[in-house]
Structure formats: C-alpha cells, structure tokens
Amino acid sequence: MIFLSAHDLMPEYVNYWFVVGFQKFLRVFWYFVIFEFTRYIIIDYIIAGIFALTGKSRKEKFKRAKAALYTENPFVSVIIPGKNEGKHLYKLTRSLAEQTFTNFELIIVDDGSDDETPVIGKNLEKLGLIDMFIRNEMRGGKASAANLALRYSKGKYIVHLDADCSFDRDAIEQVLLPFFLDEKIGAVGGNVKVRNYKDSLCAKLQAIEYLKTVSIGRIVTSYLGIYKIISGAFGAFRKDVIDSIGGWDIGPGLDGDITVKIRKSGYKVYFQPKAVCLTNAPSKFKVLTKQRLRWDKSIIRFRVRKHKDVYFPNANFNWLNFFSLAENVFYNVILDLMWWIYIIDIMINYSSQLQFIIPMNFTLYFVMSYVQMFSIYVFSERRKEELYLWPYVILMTIYTGTYLRIVRTIAYYKEFFFKRSYEDVWNPYKSSIQAKRAGL
C-alpha cells in the first residue's frame, strides 16, 4: 500500500519551496510578501474585520443620519457636465426620477457637443425633466463645464454624475448620509460598479478590478482616513466647501485633484459603499489602454507635482493628507518601479530557478486574488450577480500584475519626462497649454 503525504499531492514547484525553506522563499518573493500580501490581504482583512465588528454601531449612526437628512431635507443640485452625452440623458432622467431622495434640481452642461445633444437637452428642459440645460458653443473641457454647473447650482450639496451612469434607487440618499455623520466631511464618494461586465473579457476584468480597488480598496482607505479619490462618475460635495476651493481645476484627473484640494482645505472625504452607481467600462483593451494611460499620467501630474506640498512640513501639513497621497504614490509609482527592480533581481540572481519561481508567483497571486474576492463577496450587496465573475479572477494576475503594470509604467514615463498629459485631447489645447505654463 502506498501512503500519499500532502507533499506528494502538491506540484513540484510548490514542494521546492518547502525544501529550500522560508528564508529563501522570502528572499525570492519579497515583493509579494512585503507589499502585496501585507497591503491587500493582511491590512484589508484587518480593516474588514473591524468594519464588520463595528457594523452595528455604524448602522445606528446611519439611522440617525437618515433621520437628520429627511428632517432637514436639504436642497441638492445634481450636476452633469459632458460632451456628446445626449443619447444618455433621457435614461439618466428616468433613473434619477426613481430616487428615494427627491429634493434636487438637475443641471446639465453641454460642453460644446457636436451631435444632437443640444436638441435633446433643450427638449428635456422644456418637458421639465431637466431643471437647467446650459449649452457652451465652444468646448472648454470637463472642469469648466462642471464649474459652470456649479455657478448656477442652488443646492446645499452638489452631486456630480457622469451622464452614462445609472443609479440604485437610494443612491443619492446614501451618498448624502455621511454629511450628517460628521460635519467635517466635505465630500463623499459613491461606489462605482461596472454595468456591462457581460460584454467582453475586458469588461469582466475591469468589473473585478473595480470591486477590488474601488469597492473594498476605498472602504479600507476611507476607514483609515486616507481616501484620496472621489470618482467623477458619482460624488457628492458640500457646496460651501467646493465653492471655497474654486471648484474643479483642469484635468485629466480632475476628480482625484479636487479630492486632494478638499482634503487640503481641512475637510474629510468619505467613501459610501452603499451609494451604488453603475457605469459602462471600456469593452476593448485598446480603449482601456488609452483611458488608463490618461488616469495614470494624472497621478504624476497631480500627486507628485501639483500637490507635492503635502509631503513637506509647512503650516498646513497634515499626516493623513501625507499618508493619503504617499500611499497612493508609493503603491502606484514606487512599487511600479520596484517591480521592475524585482524582475531584474530575479533574472540576475535566480535565473536557473525560474521554473519554480514563475509558477509559484502566479500561484501566489492567483490565491491572493480569490482571497480578496472572498472579502468582496462578504461586503457586496450584489454578491449573487458577482459570482458570475469568479471564474475570471484567475486572469487577474495577468491583467493587474502584467498588463496594467506595463501601461502604468509607460504613463509614468511619458508624464514624468515629457508632461504628456497636457497634450491629451481629452482636454482642449487652449486650456491645457495655459495650465502647463502655470504649472498646474
């Protein structure tokens, strides 16, 4: 009779690491253990545990906040700046008409559309489905359109949306509640999820990524007080706060920029996972690559350059702001560089053991991805629908660990050395050139 031990059942590349010992394992997989595992498993699960334990008291707080919200029933301005978004507007108005919180005005700014948007917008305004439709004949960029909407907003709170999004029935109510938890909260980010995840593999992978980084990632950073980006697709702001900082500055990346500006002005920002908004993610990798190059360039432009003052001692120095941006820059920029260093380290020192290192690395990331997915499953309000995505989690190692890392590296290189974000057609040249000259 042959007795099989656990080692016999495992593949050779796993047994190898049992044989060489933990010290060597740590030496070879230092990048995974120190940065990835610690940050995305240990810290996430600790926070998730605390989050779960404090659920009851948080529920009570939100119950009181809801009572306060409906007692005050503040007037809210929902603003939607955009270009060529006419085709989404009717659906959007229908989605907003279903909201549980109803005391809001709807302001849509058409930023120089060259399609039928002006006709649609004016008709919807005439029909009373939009309270104010403002058309700019000349395109000025998303920031200027948002600022124009802000100028004519009458609400105590501003809810900024993207036109191609749709919302849970209580999304606006949920995104407003945190303002009634703490008066120092100046802005609240909504939970953006991918609507078209069944469209393509590209959309599926993004849906998983959004769940990991947007949903869980932001619960953790928000809990730690270092939440640093309110998505442009769905965010709420106190009008007095946003007025005091002069509204939005030129993008791309204006949503992250305004979050930092609010933080720097002394207010807290909060992530509300229950305020759910669905958006369409790019369904082709080519489009996704362009989008990510734009987003990643903005990290260098805003987090490294424009807001570099948060890293240095000054009158407005704040540790949370420091950690917020430092965490963001470290986990994106620094670790991206370190990953290449790690690759070189392995290639030089362990080139003869690659047959054990590469599969093990994939296995580690694969296991980590499913462990993360489990935490998402625990927190998500759409867990059953999201089970559909589980088979694709296996590909996340290649998607985030390789594809996105390469895109990110290219973006950082282009922005750091050539300031390419100022040439992005996403923003009109007339504004970008001025911003570049002014160093904004």
């Binding site: 120089g112 004016k122 305004e125 104010m132 439709f133 403002i134 058309r135 700019n136 004949e137 000349m138 395109r139 000025g140 960029g141 920031a143 200027s144 359109a145 600022n147 124009l148 100028r151 004519y152 002069g246 509204g247 939005w248 500055d249 030129i250 007339k430 504004s431 001025q434 911003a435 000259r437 002014a438 904004l440």
Partner: protein
C-alpha cells in the same frame, strides 16, 4: 362708338358694342338704378369709403347675375389695394374698346352660371367665390395687407366678411377645397392671436419661469488656466476683467479666456436660464400667447376646379337635391334597402302577396375605367332615369355605380313594362356617352317568395 348718357344728376351710363357700364361715384346712385340691364360698373371716385360701399352693394346682391358683374376703377383715380383687389382693375374711359372684350367674356360666363336657391349664407358666398374665379378665370390670390386681421386680403370673398370674421372666411375656403371645388396653392402660414384671431403681434423673449420680459443676457467667460466659468459680471473689476477664482487678470480673448455662451437672468424672479421663452402679445386685444397657442393658418391662392365648374352649371340640382342613395324620395342606402327586402319577405309569408325584386347590372369593362367623379355623376344620372319610371311605392338602391336593386311591392310578373322602358333609356344613355357601343345591361327579376333567404338577393 362711345355713348355717355346722363341718366340723372349723379349716374352716368356708358354703352359700347351693346354693353352698358355704369359710372358710379356714390352707392346712392346704384340704389336709384335698375341694375338688371347693366353689364358692369366703373367706380368714379377717389374716396375709399365710397368705393368700398359701391363694391359691397354690388357684390352682396342676391341676384348672382348682378353681384358678379365686372367692376372697374376709373384710371384717373388712385384707390388703395384694399379696394382695388376686389375690382376688375383700372379702366381708361378714352380707350374703352380695349376693355370690352373682358366685359364680354365675364358677362357671357356669368350667364352660364345657374344660381342656387335656398342655400345657407356661407354656401352662397362659397358659390359666388367659385363663380368669381370662373367668370374671371383667375385664382383667388391673397394680397398682403396691414389692415387685414390675418395680414392678407382675399379678392372678392373678403368683402363678405367683417374684419373679425376672417377665420370664417378661411374655413369657408377650406370647406370648398375639401369638397374639391377649389384647388389650393400654399403661399404662407399666418400665426394669429388665440383671443381675437388678429396677427398684429409683438414677439418678445421672456423668462420661462415667470414670463417676465424684464430679462438680460450676460456673456459667459471661461478662464482657461483655472477652468473657472461665470457670467462676465463676476469677472468685472474697475480696470478690466479679473478671475474671481485665481485673481489673474484677463487680457486676451482666445489666449486667456473665451466666451462660450450667453445666459439670461430675470430681473423679476432672479431665474437664470439659457433658453429664453418666447411669447406673442396681441396688440389688438392684449392677449399674451405662448407660441404653441397661436393659431396657425395656411394662406394661399384658390382656383376653381372642374368639379367646381360643374357645380356652377348644375347648382340648382346639386344644392337642392342630395345624395341619391340616402336622401332621394324612393331611394335608400343599401343597408336600409336590405332591411326593407327582409321585411318584404316576412310580409309575403303572412299575406301571400306578389312582390318583385329586380337587379340591374351594367356589364361593361369601359365603365370601370371612369374616374370617381364621373362614376358618381353616372350613378346619379342612372338613378334619375330609373326613378322616372318607378311608381311611388317602388324602392331603389344602388350597390355600386354599375349595380342597382329595385323592390316592386304588389307587382305581378305581367306588370313589368316599366323595366323595358328603363332598359331602353339606360342603353341610350350609355351609347350616347361611351364610345364602345357594346353595352350590356342585364336586368333580372325574381318573385319574392316566403321561403327566400335575404343573402340570395345580393349574391
């Protein structure tokens, strides 16, 4: 030869080539004159009110032979368009001969028109208008007029309506068009006040919220470097423009800033908006109209059609009689006729009487090619012939232009000589009117039996 005869101190008659025109300077001259023997009139005054009274007096005469007579204006006088469009133009008395052909044509055409009797006032106006178009061989073409409620005056027909009755005028013309008596060519759309149907309207931009016209437009400024956008007034400082967000001075449009749009603010309710509303104030009655509340009316020229001309010649019959299948004595619509036939079958069951059912069919392909109007006229004429041989108790109905049914109550099989007359005259009618002489008129008779089923009669 021109004869100028003094009839009395005010009226003068011109006779040329046997046609008499009356020179009139005041309507009272017409009242003293017997108009039956005149062939036209010449307005001999430059006073608009007098000229208008003359026109009204003539055109509103009950006798259509008078009301349609040509009316000219003596060329030595200049009368405004509001008068001249209702006349047959200017006439030079020294060159009368050159105008006589027109008088002759009009009067000859007038004689062809048969005046209707006992018709409603608006129908009479409609008829006169058709006759005017026919006798002059012109279209009724509207002319722009500041004095008209709708901005347009129509020749002839406008005389019959007061200023505030212009909608009735348009409706009457529309009715004639729907009946295919007049053809229509669009010239313009007019927008009229919902209150008084006038078109003296003042269009104003207004606040979409409170409808105040006290609104002001502001240019928007977009400051490129900081993306601040606001009305120009927010940027204005003593020495130019300064951004309220970043405090920078705005020097150069296109470089520092641009003006992407304008926005209105209402000085009454403070509402700010980009798309101003628009309303129209009626300067006649003071009604404020939303644009979509204005009455939109098509205005254009009307010309008599062939059907309209037929109406003029047969007006007596057409206006007095109606649709054969529904209103004629002894004629019934098919549905009603079927009920009567069914009743007759029931009656035969109990009385054992003698009644005959007759079916007349025209079997000729050429008839199918006739247009709808001719088919209708043919149906009427056939109906008239058949009815002229029927007795009082006989009942006629038509299914199509080529199929007729007759119920002959209390008629025996040897009492059908009237059918022979009908067949003879119908054959003659067709052979006179159609090139193809191979007409076949099939007349079948059937004695109504108590056991008959209604369906077999109309199979």
């Amino acid at each position: 030869m021109l004869n100028l005869l003094k009839h009395n101190s005010n009226a003068r008659k011109i006779t040329k080539e046997g046609y008499s025109l009356l020179l009139v300077s005041h309507v009272n001259e017409l009242r003293q004159e017997s108009l039956d023997y005149l062939d036209g009139f010449v307005i001999d005054t430059d006073r608009v009110s007098h000229a208008r009274e003359i026109l009204l007096y003539v055109r509103t005469q009950d006798n259509i032979q008078i009301s349609l007579l040509p009316i000219f204006i003596n060329s030595v006088y200049k009368l405004p368009q509001e008068v001249s469009i209702h006349t047959d133009g200017l006439i030079e008395l020294t060159q009368l001969a050159s105008y006589m052909q027109r008088v002759v044509t009009i009067t000859k055409r007038i004689q062809k028109v048969t005046a209707p009797k006992l018709v409603a006032h608006d129908v009479l106006i409609q008829f006169k208008t058709l006759a005017y178009s026919y006798t002059r061989n012109v279209s009724i073409q509207p002319k722009p007029s500041r004095k008209s409620y709708i901005g347009y005056d129509f020749p002839f027909i406008s005389l019959f309506y007061k200023d505030d009755e212009v909608i009735s005028l348009l409706q009457n013309l529309k009715k004639a068009k729907q009946l295919n008596y007049l053809s229509f060519k669009l010239q313009d759309y007019v927008h009229l006040c919902k209150g008084c149907s006038g078109n003296y309207l003042n269009f104003r931009e207004c606040c979409p919220k409170c409808e105040s016209i006290d609104i002001k437009a502001h240019d928007m400024i977009h400051h490129f470097v900081c993306a601040h956008v606001a009305p120009e007034k927010d940027f204005k400082v003593e020495d130019g423009l300064e951004c309220p967000k970043c405090d920078k001075h705005l020097r150069h449009i296109g470089i520092d800033y641009d003006k992407p749009s304008t926005i209105y603010s209402c000085n009454t309710c403070s509402h700010e908006f980009q798309n101003a509303g628009m309303n129209a104030l009626c300067l006649d009655c003071g009604t404020e109209n939303e644009l979509d509340e204005l009455l939109e009316k098509a205005v254009g020229s009307y010309m008599i059609t062939q059907k309209g001309e037929q109406l003029l010649f047969q007006s007596k019959k057409n206006y007095i009689s109606g649709n054969m299948t529904s209103t004629d004595k002894g004629s019934l619509s098919l549905n009603l006729f079927k009920i009567i036939v069914n009743q007759e079958i029931q009656r035969i069951k109990t009385t054992s009487g003698n009644s005959m059912f007759v079916k007349i069919e025209f079997q000729n392909d050429e008839l199918q090619l006739l247009n709808v109007d001719v088919k209708k006229a043919l149906t009427k004429e056939i109906g008239d012939i058949i009815k002229s041989y029927l007795k009082e108790a006989d009942i006629l109905s038509a299914e199509r232009f080529n199929k007729y049914y007759i119920m002959l109550p209390e008629t025996k099989e040897n009492q059908l000589e009237r059918l022979e007359n009908i067949q003879y005259n119908l054959s003659k009618l067709l052979s006179d009117n159609l090139a193809d002489s191979k007409q076949e008129i099939k007349i079948s008779t059937h004695k109504v039996q108590a056991t008959d089923a209604i369906q077999q009669y109309f199979a």
